[in-house]
Assembly symmetry: C2
Homo-oligomer: 199 residues x 2
């Protein structure tokens, strides 16, 4: 069953070890920020710093693991139609819109959406790590380190599939930042498939 | 007064708002991992994701702020002899040495050194964020995202100076990873200067 995340909103849910999460961009050029926490202890969360270090690359894709801050594999990417996602930047937030866009009455962004969705699981806002920003297209000048946020490479119907390697709480959004989504806010679709594996 | 961090060790200390921390590479080609937490609430810590996002670049240098996970400026870089530091990767750890180097009896690394040094301040290991890795030279292929850890560009006596923008607990190491330090473990020197400013 496909669930719908409305534009500029977010959700959270449990994903058992062995289950697969499919994240679909139904209209194209829409980012979805994903975070994940261990059900057994939400102080364990996905870690960009460990995942990128162990992979020796910035752009993760099919076959790559996403590690936690305890160096356990939390998720593995098992299918990827797009091959370009970001794992450098935090979810957009009131502060993003204030600092980067100069908004005076900023939207709460993915950060606010994730904070609300994760609160019932006992996860506090300040525990939200750098997200795995699905379909987010950050173009980097390797020489200077300067980067720009470009339109996602995802087209209508493109998807990524990740498989839980432990019992997780997952936060997922339809991203709220203009630049990240080629200046149009669209929904994100997702589905959860498979049975929980034992252990 | 210059303090000495012995090779493959770390320390932690308070740095009051307005004080300046000078980190010196006395022999050259030696990395120092730095983390910082708010004294008022150590759940507030430096955030690579926010700092890089707001700067729109990967390599921070003189004039650049280091933001917290609450989007407050924690530190500002006020002098920088080298201009090449890393803010992507976690401190090296037992897991780094196990996963990347294949060590069977791995050193605890900067992560273990920081965890021990920060424990008396009530900071737990799983709160240690992506560090600002002073003098660490990560070369990035912007096209593919592949990166390599190269010898630091710092030469004997080179330094960086950061100024605290709030009352902080700082963790600082002489990095323990072979690759990061051109295969030789050296000390790091540091000094704290200036009076705490009011407020």
């Amino acid at each position: 069953m496909v669930e719908i995340i409305a534009p500029r909103t977010g959700t959270a849910f449990r994903l058992a070890k062995g289950q697969r999460l499919t994240v679909i961009d139904p209209e194209g050029e829409q980012v979805s920020d994903m975070v994940a926490f261990a059900q057994s202890d939400p102080r364990e969360a996905i870690s960009s710093g460990r995942s990128l270090d162990y992979a020796s690359k910035l752009f993760l894709t099919t076959g790559d693991p996403i590690y936690s801050n305890c160096s356990n594999v939390m998720l593995r990417i098992v299918e990827d139609d797009v091959g370009r996602h970001d794992f450098l930047l935090t979810p957009c937030s009131k502060d993003t819109f204030r600092i980067i866009y100069g908004d005076e009455d900023p939207h709460r962004g993915c950060f606010g959406n994730l904070a609300e969705a994760l609160a019932p699981f006992g996860i506090q806002a300040d525990q939200i790590p750098v997200a795995f920003n699905i379909f987010m297209n950050v173009q980097i000048d390797g020489e200077t380190g300067a980067f720009t946020v470009e339109a996602p490479k995802s087209r209508a119907g493109d998807k990524i599939v990740v498989e839980a390697q432990m019992d997780l709480i997952v936060g997922l959004t339809a991203c709220s930042a203009l630049q990240s989504n080629n200046y149009a806010f669209k929904p994100i679709h997702y589905s959860i498939d498979g049975e929980a594996s034992s252990g």
